[in-house]
């Protein structure tokens, strides 16, 4: 079947077998291998991507179901060569070890911060509870998401402040 799907802002047209899972489509047809696969029961979350802006497990959605939808993977986090604050925070706070869960973890955290820009530790843990990490014990992941949230709030703050400054200058 032919599908048209926007992945990381770019439109792809592809021919897929209906049974192709979205995760495999991303990995093997689009070569976006940052999306990992770690289980066969929709448990581990290594394959988490954003589907129309919301985190889902791409091993449990068919590629044909993405026809006409938007997908964002870990490869879409960076913009203009700049790491996303979540990526920087994961690095700074040692929120990864083997790195296998990291892309899914980043996308789940990204989804959280879109709807809850200042989450509590409990809310972060809840939001990431569909993503298993075998290495870190989650402590540093929670810390990194907090730090990223703060940094993103700071960036937004700067934008607002800039707007305010330009606002007064035109008065």
């Amino acid at each position: 079947m032919n599908i048209r799907v926007k992945v990381n802002g770019r439109l792809y047209e592809a021919d897929v077998e209906p049974r192709t899972l979205l995760a495999y489509f991303l990995r093997e047809q689009l070569n976006l291998t940052g999306t990992h696969i770690g289980c066969d029961t929709t448990t581990c979350g290594a394959c988490t991507v954003l589907f129309d802006g919301k985190p889902i497990k791409s091993c449990t959605v068919l590629a044909v179901q993405a026809d006409g939808h938007e997908v964002m993977t870990v490869e879409g986090l960076e913009s203009n060569g700049q790491l996303h604050p979540l990526q920087s925070a994961f690095w700074e706070d040692h929120a990864l070890q083997c790195g296998y869960c990291t892309p899914g973890m980043l996308m789940a955290a990204y989804g959280l911060l879109q709807t809850n820009p200042a989450p509590t530790d409990e809310e972060i843990r809840e939001a990431l509870s569909g993503n298993i990490c075998r290495c870190t014990g989650y402590m540093n992941i929670v810390k990194a998401v907090q730090n990223a949230a703060r940094q993103m709030a700071g960036e937004n703050q700067e934008v607002i402040e800039e707007a305010a400054v330009s606002g007064t200058s035109t008065d």
Binding site: G34, H36, T41, E75, F90, Q97, I132, C135
Partner: protein, 783 residues
């Protein structure tokens, strides 16, 4: 927060990891990311029975299915003399079954097809006619005289694999005879699985034109895998290129050679194209090698004042269908004899009997230095029982019996020579930081109100870093490890090591060691591991051995380079070699202030301006055979509250004070501790791979083999004491496994402590809520 990598003298600093930039971008390169032209996919057909004779396998429908290129059975492999392969424990294991199957999910046939889905479709079309045989799922039943003999390939007609013992039987018996106090407890360490997030897999690529096999494989020990592959396949070792790319966690799971690797290789050899095999999670948990499954009985002989005298341990080790323990050859029960732990026993006697059952083979050292976890759990559990019987505080009992600081190097009754430690200092720090006395007061108040709160202590000692080579080998290969450092003319370094990290951060920590020794920043040093064509031979990363072995090799290799560098520096400084002083970042001339050359200057000179008669270049290789193992230790304290209505245990606090000697990167050490504690928590409260009487695996996937999420996982507190290893080149000991080794006992001790007013002395792991509820109900406690 992590520091920059550009600092000089990076040793001991929390610098950011060098491996992270690719991993946070989704640009890691794991085995399943290897996509080669014309690559085919392998799917393995597995047995639904735990024990059955194979009457017939019909592959015709599979062969006719779309996309199928090859179907292989055990008989096909037998024709190539490849139906069996050696295990690391000196046993042999079926690559694919011939004659009969010995465990559920055993490899029976394989299909190679153009796509994964086609391979799986065709695998379903293979018809196997089984004749079920009586199943032996219990190791004690396996030892019964009338038990069916499982291994028909063995000369010995028994399910008994080995008997192994350590210590002094007579001396131990004598102490037990006269001891006023004896405690005894049966303790089971459940069957668990490392379950790294990335399952095992490979891409095997036979290139007939180059006469070379390239195997991309999830391997913690690529050199050993290459050697085993050469031995099994008959291919010349130099024509096998094993590449272990980024590895998504290992924890011991990726030490063995699995059937899938061999079958994919046979398929690639037959078809002349690359063949990929990636196991499913179910295959990972149900067929790749498990860990633990020790049925232990421990007895402590003691005086009435709590002074321990002797320890006696008997163990039945369930190895499943094949003894696939990843232990050093002479140690069928690994380093289990470290079981006297941190205590000064006068004598000990330890016995282990290995047994075959109709279960998946093993056991591997899951985040564990070869059965050290079982040993540490056992002694820490039974010490608590002794304290309980004597009505002593468990901390006090430990302080009374610790090996004292001045006793190091300490000769243990089972033959180990502990390098260093200050157990009293470590425990006292832990007690102070957790507020032990206040917690005991709170507990007393809560008990008076009928509330259930427990405090559990574990003061474990580990033994890690195998070699030394005269004691330790794997398939005959001595357990040294290696480093090779090459300076390039502009002063940048590429260093290669014989180990293979899977998340431990070697690219950073080994760069720190080398940078420290050579006056560079970690940024100047690129670490490469996992490629057998380029890296020096080594035994791999497991059992917390990388820092003790390859870390030592890296430091000594760098010092070897520095010796040559000193000569070049003398030449550049125009002074005699004896007048050259190294201050950690540069060479200077004694008595000539202001004249200094950096290692970068030296490196440039090594290629452009060497002294007359000197061999150009600046590189070295070092094979380090450690003189002894290292003995990391720690004091862990858990505080738990029990919900009387549901039996749920809530871990309120957990403090880990570790002593792993000198620390290379405290951020990474802390991360290792967090991760290991989380695995220990899972083992204590969630994980087991049970089998029913028919040998059906009841937890073959992540639905039932429980791995804790961020919501389940307690918050960890950490601290450290530093007692350097006296024999290690940088005084380090290794830490990766300590938290997994030390924590299960702390959790269980805390739960038992909470229930001790009821007379409870022991609960076997995993402590599911229903187990606690059963105990409460027995005692009429309810909400």
């Amino acid at each position: 927060m992590a520091l920059r990598q550009t600092e000089l003298r990076p040793m001991g600093k929390p610098i950011g990891r060098k491996e992270d930039p690719r991993l946070i971008r989704g640009k890691g390169h794991y085995v399943d990311d290897v996509m080669l032209p014309n690559m085919l996919y392998l799917c393995i057909v597995r047995s639904p029975y735990a024990h059955a004779r194979i009457r017939r396998i019909d592959t015709s429908a599979a062969l006719a299915a779309p996309g199928v290129k090859l179907v292989l059975t055990g008989e096909d492999l037998a024709e190539m003399n490849l139906a069996w392969m050696p295990t690391l424990a000196g046993d042999q294991q079926m690559v694919m079954a011939t004659g009969k199957v010995l465990f559920q999910y055993q490899e029976v046939a394989a299909v190679v097809a153009e796509t994964r889905a086609q391979a799986e479709d065709a695998a379903q079309l293979i018809e196997v006619d089984y004749e079920p045989l009586p199943v032996v799922a219990d190791p004690f039943q396996a030892l019964a005289p009338d038990a069916p003999i499982l291994r028909e390939d063995k000369e010995k007609k028994s399910n008994h694999i080995f008997h192994w013992e350590a210590g002094d039987r007579e001396e131990t018996e004598a102490l037990f005879r006269e001891a006023p106090v004896v405690v005894k407890q049966n303790v089971r360490f459940p069957r668990v699985h490392p379950a790294p997030l990335e399952p095992c897999g490979c891409v095997s690529d036979w290139d007939a034109a180059r006469n070379k096999l390239t195997l991309y494989v999830t391997s913690q020990a690529p050199h050993v895998h290459r050697t085993v592959l050469a031995m099994v396949s008959g291919l010349p070792e130099h024509q096998i290129h094993v590449i272990s790319p980024d590895v998504g966690g290992g924890f011991g799971n990726k030490v063995p050679v699995y059937s899938g690797y061999v079958v994919a290789t046979v398929a690639s050899l037959k078809l002349g194209v690359p063949v990929k095999w990636i196991e499913t999670r179910t295959e990972n948990i149900a067929s790749s090698h498990f860990a633990r499954d020790y049925h232990m009985t421990a007895e402590i002989a003691a005086r009435e004042d709590g002074t321990v005298l002797a320890l006696r341990v008997k163990t039945v080790a369930d190895h499943g269908a094949f003894d696939a323990a990843a232990d050093p050859s002479k140690f069928p029960a690994g380093l289990f004899s470290i079981v006297t732990g941190s205590y000064d026993f006068k004598a000990a006697f330890v016995e282990v009997d290995g047994v075959y059952t109709n279960k998946a083979p093993g056991g591997v050292a899951y985040r564990c230095s070869f059965r050290v976890t079982e040993a540490a759990y056992l002694i820490e559990r039974v010490m608590d029982i002794l304290a309980q019987r004597l009505k002593m505080d468990p901390a006090e009992l430990r302080l009374k019996n610790f090996i004292r600081k001045e006793q190091f190097p300490y000769h243990s009754p089972t033959g180990w020579v502990y390098d260093s430690g200050d157990y009293e200092k470590t425990l006292k720090l832990a007690l102070e930081r957790i507020g032990y006395e206040e917690l005991r007061k709170e507990q007393a108040e809560k008990r008076a109100r009928g509330e259930l709160m427990g405090i559990g202590i574990s003061t474990f000692t580990e033994v890690v870093g195998a070699g030394p080579a005269h004691q330790f080998d794997i398939v005959g290969i001595k357990m040294f490890d290696s480093a090779q450092i090459r300076f390039h003319p502009t002063g940048k370094v590429i260093a290669r090591l014989g180990v293979r990290h899977q998340g431990q951060g070697h690219e950073t920590t080994f760069a720190q060691i080398i940078a420290e020794e050579l006056g560079l920043s970690a940024d100047d040093v690129l670490i490469e591991e996992g490629d057998t064509d380029t890296a020096p031979y080594g035994l791999g990363t497991y059992a917390s051995r990388s820092t003790p072995t390859a870390g030592g090799a890296a430091a000594l290799c760098a010092r070897r380079i520095r010796e040559k560098a000193r000569k070049i520096a003398a030449h550049l400084l125009e002074v005699g070699e004896d007048d050259v002083v190294w201050d950690g970042v540069a060479f200077s001339a004694k008595g000539l202030p202001g004249r200094a050359v950096s290692m970068k200057d030296v490196a440039f000179a090594a290629y452009t301006n060497v002294p007359e008669g000197m061999e150009p270049g600046l590189e070295a290789t070092y094979y380090y055979n450690p003189p002894n193992l290292t003995f990391p230790n720690g004091a862990y304290i858990a505080v738990v509250d029990i919900d009387k209505g549901t039996g749920t245990v809530k871990v309120r606090r957990f403090l880990a004070v570790d002593d792993c000697g000198n620390v290379i990167n405290p951020m990474i050490v802390e991360g290792q501790v967090h991760g290991g504690l989380t695995e220990g928590f899972a083992i204590a409260f969630m994980q087991d791979i049970p089998y029913d009487a028919d040998g059906n695996c009841l937890a073959p996937n992540l639905m039932d083999y429980l791995v804790p999420t961020s919501v389940d996982t307690p918050r960890w507190e950490t601290d450290r004491t530093v007692t350097p290893s006296p024999h290690h080149p940088i005084g380090a000991k290794g830490v990766g496994e300590s938290p997994n080794v030390g924590s299960p006992a702390a959790f269980v001790n805390a739960v038992v402590d909470a229930l001790s007013p009821l007379g409870v002395e022991h609960i076997d792991m995993p402590i599911f809520p229903w187990k606690v509820w059963n105990i409460l109900r027995e005692h009429g406690i309810t909400e």
